[in-house]
């Protein structure tokens, strides 16, 4: 088991530049096991870039990333799942040609016990492996209350359900750290309330880091909040502390348009 003192993920002094634009500037943060860390900030603050750095889609100019104390160097996105990091995408990224069940089974693929050669031969082991993956996928779907959609295709389902399917796919990878990119965007009030419940349950088994516009959700579920503005961390701490930070109010929370969004 992880030492509770050691963070799962640490980001230290990460700087990212796109041409002349500084997307992230000397950003540091840590995610401890079984905690929920929220990253908030206005549009263009660098939230998704931060996720992309963690996932290996974007290489930082400076700074390091470490996972369980080991520095990640030039890691590729597909290696992340095997480390125990799963991520949902802002645009969902569901596989349109696969049923919801197979979408989630694809997420569980890294836990498969039978090899690819066995799947070509169609052996008994492959059949058992598929059965295991199917069971894991069904469990993930049932956890989020959408087991009845298993045999439907993403395009046939309402957005809120698709969003859950994408979350189920990430959960099926049995991650230790779950990265959620705007989990609440586009959700109805009721879906949002259920999301809060799910996140609180998931937190018992894994760490969660989320990027979110919806400040209210972040304040309700997060243990720690990191506020980004123009690529810099302008505040960090527990939700109450961050909420009362004058810099944050100025940069983000005080924006009347934002308050209307999150109301």
């Amino acid at each position: 088991m992880t030492n509770a003192e050691q963070p799962l993920l640490s980001v230290a002094g990460v700087t990212v530049r796109f041409g002349g634009l500084v997307a992230l500037s000397d950003v540091s943060l840590e995610v401890a096991p079984r905690t929920v860390v929220g990253v908030i900030g206005p549009n263009g603050a660098g939230k998704t870039t931060l996720f992309n750095v963690v996932c290996g889609f974007v290489r930082p100019k400076q700074g390091t990333l470490s996972w369980r104390g080991t520095t990640l160097r030039n890691h590729r996105p597909d290696q992340l799942a095997n480390l125990g990091i799963a991520r949902t995408l802002q645009g969902l990224g569901l596989f349109a040609g696969l049923s919801v069940l197979h979408n989630v089974m694809a997420g569980a693929d890294r836990t498969a016990k039978s090899g690819l050669a066995a799947s070509v031969l169609g052996s008994r082991g492959a059949a058992r492996g598929e059965r295991d993956l199917r069971a894991k996928a069904m469990t993930a779907l049932a956890t989020l209350g959408i087991a009845d959609t298993a045999h439907r295709y993403p395009g046939e389902l309402p957005y809120g359900v698709q969003k859950r399917a994408a979350l189920a796919r990430a959960l099926a990878a049995e991650p230790e750290l779950l990265l959620l990119d705007e989990p609440a965007s586009g959700l109805s009030e009721q879906d949002m309330a259920e999301l809060v419940t799910h996140l609180r349950t998931l937190r018992e088994d894994m760490a969660i880091m989320l990027v979110e516009h919806h400040v209210d959700l972040v304040m309700r579920v997060c243990d720690r909040v990191v506020v980004l503005n123009f690529g810099e961390v302008i505040a960090e701490g527990d939700p109450a502390k961050v909420r009362n930070d004058p810099l944050v109010t100025e940069a983000y929370l005080g924006d009347p348009a934002r308050e209307r969004d999150s109301a």
Binding site: C55, F57, R76, P77, D78, Q79, L80, A81, N82, A86, R87, L89, G93, L94, F95, A96, G97, L98, S99, H102, M105, A106, G107, D109, R110, A112, S114, L116, S119, V120, L121, G122, S123, R124, A126, A127, G129, E130, R131, L133, R134, H151, Y153, R169, A170, A173
Partner: protein
């Protein structure tokens, strides 16, 4: 074979019952039934039809390979004829220069040669998308057969290679075309069993994931580049084997059989049959062989002047392709599936 099939609630229980059985047994069973059907068909028909049945066989394999690449893997290939070319010449060269090798060894070599070519192409193509990939593969189909001119002594120039394959076991008293049809279909069905396993299993799901969303697939732990290369490898090995079977059947391997037009008509036939499933390969191959034959018969019967008669079959084929694409945008297999779903719904409504 129909891993893409929409599972209806009513059929879900049977599908679940089937899942406990290893896919290999299921697909082998289907293949044995298919082989029995083919044998029965060849026994009931004349040598000319036997030859056509065998021709359908190797086209099914070539199209099934293309279905893996394009339907499952989402990569387009306008140059698949190049892999058939490689397979055909592999068999031709082996029959001529290593006559002691049994035909099955020649065919395995054809699949391996096609596979190696696919691996190289796939590695080069892994970063290419859409029109760039189409262009690169088309270049392969245009360029590769030209090497026969470069090495005329070895590859026979534009006349290609001619050879006789003596594969029929002594004592088996059947017409040679019948034996050829059996051997072609036996080989094709073995390959199809493996392809059907792939379609139903982990590898097929990985390919479809990469096809639908590369970013999401990589986040699920799937190596996108490797998956694409594997799709190319499998597809090209099927192409190589199909080309090898063609050489076995015709006793020739000539550049004229592997023009870019072949590659394009393979892709067109797959679209016609239904790109997403291996069944589509069967309909596509039947269309390729029989529509064209039928169009030729029609133009012969009309007693048109030669220039018109020569081009009419292709024009008719084109018209059929356009009509079917309009009526059934997902090809014949897609259309059949929709009909099946409609029938199912109507039955459900009457209950």
């Amino acid at each position: 074979m129909g891993a893409d099939t929409v599972t209806k609630p009513a059929t879900r229980t049977t599908a679940q019952a089937r899942r406990a059985i290893p896919p290999l047994l299921l697909h082998l069973g289907a293949a044995i039934i298919a082989l029995v059907l083919v044998v029965a068909l060849t026994l009931a028909t004349d040598p000319f039809t036997n030859l056509r049945i065998a021709t359908v066989g190797y086209y099914v394999l070539a199209l099934a390979g293309l279905a893996v690449l394009t339907g499952m893997g989402g990569q387009i290939s306008l140059g698949h004829g190049a892999f058939l070319f490689i397979g055909a010449y592999t068999v031709g060269l082996l029959v001529i220069h290593a006559p002691s090798l049994p035909i099955w060894a020649d065919l395995i070599a054809a699949a391996v040669a096609g596979g190696i070519a696919g691996l190289l192409t796939g590695a080069a193509a892994a970063r290419l998308h859409g029109p760039y990939l189409a262009g690169a593969t088309l270049a392969l189909a245009v360029g590769l057969p030209a090497i026969t001119q470069r090495f005329p002594d070895f590859l026979g120039g534009s006349n290609g290679l001619s050879f006789t394959v003596n594969s029929e076991p002594a004592g088996l008293a059947v017409p040679s075309t019948r034996w050829q049809a059996w051997l072609v279909w036996l080989t094709v069905l073995i390959a199809l069993v493996l392809l059907a396993n792939i379609a139903r299993g982990r590898l097929g799901r990985r390919m479809r994931s990469v096809r639908d969303d590369e970013v999401a697939a990589s986040l699920a732990g799937i190596h996108v580049g490797r998956t694409k290369i594997v799709a190319f490898l499998i597809s090209a090995a099927c192409g190589g084997l199909a080309g090898g079977l063609q050489a076995f059947l015709l006793g020739t391997a000539a550049p004229g059989s592997f023009t870019p037009a072949l590659s394009l008509s393979l892709l067109a036939a797959l679209v016609l049959g239904g790109i997403g499933s291996l069944w589509g390969a069967l309909w596509g191959a039947l269309a390729l062989v029989y529509f064209q034959a039928w169009a030729e018969d029609v133009s012969d019967a009309l007693q048109l002047p030669t220039p018109v008669a020569n081009n009419l079959p292709l024009a008719l084929y084109g018209v059929i392709l356009i009509v079917i694409t309009f009526v059934a945008p997902h090809g014949i297999q897609g259309g059949l599936r929709r009909l099946g779903a409609l029938a199912h719904r109507t039955r459900g409504g009457n209950r």
